[in-house]
């Protein structure tokens, strides 16, 4: 593995060497691009998993960002892009305290928004047939995914999580990657190859290899695409990527699969025991709970007894890993082009969808069915008759048996799902962790109107995978481990005014 990593470094340097050739310098500067954005809105209902749990009702949000970006092209062949910027945020929950730990102050998340060098090849320098570059850069393969979708780089398989948005709620719909990018534009066929390093979600620094293809038919009336992302294919510290701990393991005893975390069973026991103990009278709600309680208790006790007290592992157990390939397929139909309809907005009347498989391999207990890791996004841009630039309706179905949560990766680098306390009614009402059955559907409505060339006004209402900046969380991008909106009835609205020149 060491050799592989050294090879990666050498490969990266060699690739970098390709980035530039000897040249007499002729530089074309683009004007400095300046951008500002202000957005505000309200989470109508939602919940944070901070301690204690924080239900949210009419929770106000306010973000402000500003960005500078400079592009320059050397000899029409080397494109250099540098941008710096940041957004003001207020962490959630807002905690009233004048000292550290309180959260009544602005946080400014600043950094390079893009820092990329790209060598362009081909006769047509304006639309190069081939390019190769590297740095930090936004990457977006599905132009229709204005909020939901874009799964190849915004998800994880184990634990199964989906992100959308980021430090902004509206328009923050690309993935920010760090690494190397080769692209080919061959007529109607677009090909992309990316080697990227993980500097967002722990465990950090692992490298992923991704490839994408996109093909346009009938002058773009129909577009299809597919891709694969071999996440964490190169692990810089394998013991961080695959943690050797009982709680991150699974095994088989007496013909039954178990995970090596007794608490997973104990919390189920706690739920059933609490329900039975607190039932005013035996009702249909607790029928069968006695058997489930006993089974959960037996499993918890057994697993605890199988853990080696010295190594804190279960002898012979296999380990969960966050590494795994993510597959994606997408398609879009532009009815304007298909039927020759003239409209003022090029985004009108496009029907689109995206499917992904988050991890090919099944694992016992936690990840037993691929269909549990298959988000499907679909959407349609309604005709706006020139009144708007975009009126996008999106829906998504994703039937994961667990919460959309990255807590285990941040807290322990375990590739296991988060599970709630058994006695917390917000998460377990009629069955243990049944809140996770209420988040299968997501939706989003976005309207957008540009004016005076430089201004864009947007409005969005959604039940999506929004995560706000966490007052209590300090890993990765500092967003909440769990999405803020846990049920289809949870939603938010937001307005955004952006200006750029």
């Amino acid at each position: 593995m060491v050799d592989k990593r050294l090879g990666l470094a050498l490969g990266a340097l060699l690739m970098s060497a390709v980035l530039a050739g000897a040249m007499d310098t002729k530089v074309d500067y683009k004007p400095l691009k300046i951008t500002g954005v202000q957005e505000f809105g309200q989470i109508q209902s939602g919940m944070l998993i901070s301690t204690p749990y924080q239900p949210m009702s009419a929770e106000w949000l306010d973000h402000f960002g500003s960005f500078l970006t400079q592009e320059a092209k050397v000899n029409e062949r080397l494109l250099i892009q540098i941008g710096l910027g940041g957004t003001f945020q207020n962490g959630k929950p807002e905690r009233v305290d004048e000292k550290f730990g309180g959260s009544q102050y602005k946080m400014f998340f600043i950094g390079p928004t893009i820092a990329k060098a790209t060598v362009l090849f081909g006769e047509d320098r304006a639309k190069p047939a081939f390019s190769i570059g590297g740095g930090i850069f936004p990457f977006k393969y599905n132009s229709q995914a204005v909020n939901l979708g874009e799964y190849l780089f915004r998800t994880g398989a184990y634990p199964t999580y989906i992100m959308n948005g980021g430090l902004l709620m509206i328009g923050d719909n690309a993935a920010y990657l760090q690494g190397y990018h080769a692209a080919a534009r061959l007529g109607n066929l677009d090909l992309d190859l990316l080697m990227t390093t993980e500097t967002g979600m722990p465990p950090l620094y692992d490298w992923s290899l991704a490839a994408l293809a996109n093909y346009r038919i009938m002058d773009g009336a129909i577009e299809v695409g597919a891709g694969v992302n071999f996440k964490r294919i190169l692990q810089v510290d394998p013991k961080r990527t695959v943690v050797d701990s009982a709680a991150n393991s699974y095994f088989t005893r007496n013909g039954r699969h178990y995970v090596g975390d007794p608490s997973y069973y104990q919390e189920q026991f706690n739920f059933y025991d609490f329900k039975i103990t607190n039932a005013k009278s035996p009702t249909s709600d607790t029928i069968g709970f006695g058997a489930k309680r006993d089974a959960a208790k037996a499993a918890a006790d057994s697993v605890a007894s199988w853990i080696d007290p010295v190594t804190r592992t279960v002898p012979g157990a296999s380990k969960f890993t966050p590494a795994g390939p993510i597959f994606m397929a997408k398609a879009g139909v532009d009815f304007k082009k298909l039927f020759g309809i003239e409209t003022k907005s090029p985004k009108d009347m496009i029907l689109y969808g995206e499917w992904a498989l988050l991890g090919w391999e099944n694992f016992p207990v936690y990840y037993e069915k691929r269909t549990d890791r298959m988000p499907i996004m679909f959407g349609f841009n309604l005709p706006t008759f020139g009144l708007l630039n975009l009126f996008a309706l999106q829906g998504e179905h994703f039937s994961s048996p667990f919460q959309n949560n990255s807590y285990s990766l941040g807290g322990s680098n375990y590739a296991t799902p988060w599970y709630p306390n058994g006695t917390t009614k917000e998460f377990s009402e009629k069955e243990y962790n049944d809140l996770s059955t209420k988040d299968d559907w997501a939706w989003s409505v976005l309207v957008q109107r540009s004016f005076y060339r430089s201004f864009t006004l947007s409005g969005q209402i959604a039940r999506d995978h929004l995560r706000t900046v966490g007052t209590d969380w300090f890993y990765g991008s500092r967003l909440e481990p769990t999405e803020d909106l846990h049920k289809i009835s949870d939603w938010y609205w937001a307005f955004q005014l952006a200006w750029s020149i």
Binding site: L13, S16, V74, L78, K116, F474
Partner: protein, 507 residues
């Protein structure tokens, strides 16, 4: 000089720069300079912490840095050069601790700020001034051959004795950033620089230092020699912070013997040798009898001195013997020379940096102090190096070595923790730093080395590779003073080193 003098000079200097303010000036703006870099590599073997926490050894710890910078340069009336830059570097603090809350470190830290902000006025011929006067925040580098090691006139301190290399970026980061005033004199082959700058990096803050650096090249650059001084913390904005008047930062005489006021200096070795004696006794008291006796004797000797210091500490200040205090102020000296050996041959095969032999010797504090700083040679790093021929395939192949025989670890803990100008005294139970003798790790860090390769690609892209055992410090997940680095250099022990690769681009 007084603080008021500094302020008055500063204002006068700025007024002098603002000539012809009432006329419409001729302004030439350069295109915005943009640059970025990506750097990654391994701490193959290293040491983190070594402060209030025991040291922690790491093996194959990945490092990833990403930086982006923008700089604008403007020239007014051909003579006044204004520059301002902003930028920053993404870092991950070390050691990385796995967890969710503030105390854990799996998140990017972005060290952002002004990278350059200066105004420089030319005096003399336009485009070839004999004198430049400048102020602001600016990069400064006096030894162009110091690819990694060296440049200690501005990257070191005397009491405690410490050296820095690198910064938020590891490769191609061998200069220093100063905040203050500069006067740059150029006459033929002679260069002379005078700098007055304020300390905003390592505490105690704000003190002003006065430095002079000169160099002279002979025989068309065949030989270049240079020398300099740095009157570090010459003007102290709060002397009680610069030389902390407390017993822990003091030394004093008792019965003709000089003691330091830090009881740990005696107590820590006493505990170490006592523990070693106990351990050997438990294993084999007969076979280890001689060593056990030696350890017990040493433990007793140190313990007796600790009792003396303890008794002094308990006295009322007026009843104590006369104490003197260690100061952060110091006089640093530097001398260097470079022989460009390729000038002896007439060949076009060599690159501009090939075949240069060079050396730099520094004195980190002319003054000796009792107990901790008794020999000036313990504060004299000697750096030497050669640029191997790259034959225009590589632009630089620098091989550097350095020898510094300090009896202490290269560690700034006491500055950050206590405002003491005393060396770091490891926990006696820190087995990484004290194996056979107390603090014997300090005897294993005398020799440092670096190999650095560089290749420019087309003028806008550069590749760097560096392997080293140097004075690298990483941004710390535990310590938050100064530049927020670890107290101690990372490659402190035997056979500890790292490698790093960097690509940078800009225009």
């Amino acid at each position: 000089m007084t603080k008021a003098t500094i302020a008055a000079c500063s204002i006068s200097f700025l007024l002098a720069l603002s000539t012809r303010a009432d006329e419409e000036p001729k302004v030439e703006a350069q295109p915005l300079h943009i640059g970025a870099l990506q750097e990654f590599g391994y701490i193959v073997d290293g040491t983190y912490l070594a402060g209030t926490e025991k040291s922690r050894l790491v093996h194959q710890d990945w490092v990833d840095h990403f930086g982006a910078f923008i700089t604008k340069d403007v020239t007014v009336e051909d003579r006044l050069h204004l520059s301002a830059g902003l930028g920053g570097v993404f870092q991950f603090r070390k050691p990385e601790t796995v967890g969710l809350g503030f105390a854990f470190h799996q998140r990017k830290a972005f060290f952002v700020g002004p990278t350059k902000a200066e105004a420089v006025y030319d005096i003399g011929e336009v485009g070839k001034p004999w004198l430049q006067l400048g102020t602001g925040m600016f990069g400064y580098k006096y030894n162009p051959q110091a690819a990694n090691l060296g440049e200690y006139l501005f990257r070191s301190g005397a009491y405690p004795t410490y050296n820095y290399t690198g910064g938020y970026v590891i490769a191609n980061s061998a200069g220093t950033a100063l905040e203050g005033f500069k006067a740059l004199f150029r006459k033929g082959n002679f260069k002379g620089d005078l700098l007055l700058f304020t300390e905003t990096g390592l505490a105690p803050m704000y003190d002003w230092s006065l430095a002079g650096v000169a160099s002279y090249s002979v025989a068309d650059g065949l030989l270049e020699v240079g020398a300099g001084f740095n009157l570090q913390r010459l003007i102290q904005v709060r002397p009680s912070r610069t030389a902390n008047p407390v017993i822990g930062n003091s030394y004093f005489d008792v019965n003709g013997e000089t003691f330091v006021g830090q009881k740990e200096f005696y107590g820590n070795p006493a505990r170490f040798y006592a523990a070693r004696a106990d351990s050997m006794t438990a294993k084999d008291p007969v076979a280890n009898a001689a060593k056990i006796e030696d350890y017990r004797a040493r433990a007793a000797s140190f313990a007796a001195k600790a009792v003396i210091v303890d008794s002094i500490q308990t006295l009322d200040a007026s009843a104590r013997p006369a104490t003197k205090h260690y100061s952060a102020a110091a006089i640093l000296l530097m001398a260097r020379a470079t022989l460009d050996a390729k000038k002896l041959f007439s060949s076009d095969a060599f690159g501009a940096e090939d075949f240069k032999l060079y050396a730099e010797v520094d004195v980190q504090g002319v003054q000796n102090y009792p107990v901790y700083y008794e020999k000036i040679t313990d504060r004299m790093p000697v750096m030497f190096g050669i640029n191997l021929p790259g034959f225009k395939i590589l632009d630089l192949i620098a091989v550097q070595g350095e020898y510094l025989h300090s009896p202490w670890l290269n560690n700034t803990f006491q500055r950050g923790r206590n405002a003491f100008n005393t060396p770091y005294l490891p926990d006696p139970l820190d087995a990484n730093l004290s194996k056979d003798d107390y603090n014997d790790a300090a005897t294993k860090d005398d020799f440092k080395w670096t190999v650095q390769l560089k290749k420019n690609l087309g003028g806008n892209v550069s590749l760097w590779a560096q392997a080293a055992s140097d004075h690298l410090r990483m941004p710390s997940s535990f310590y938050f003073y100064g530049p927020q680095f670890d107290h101690n250099e990372v490659t402190a022990l035997d056979n500890q080193w790292y490698w790093m690769a960097q690509i940078s681009w800009g225009i």
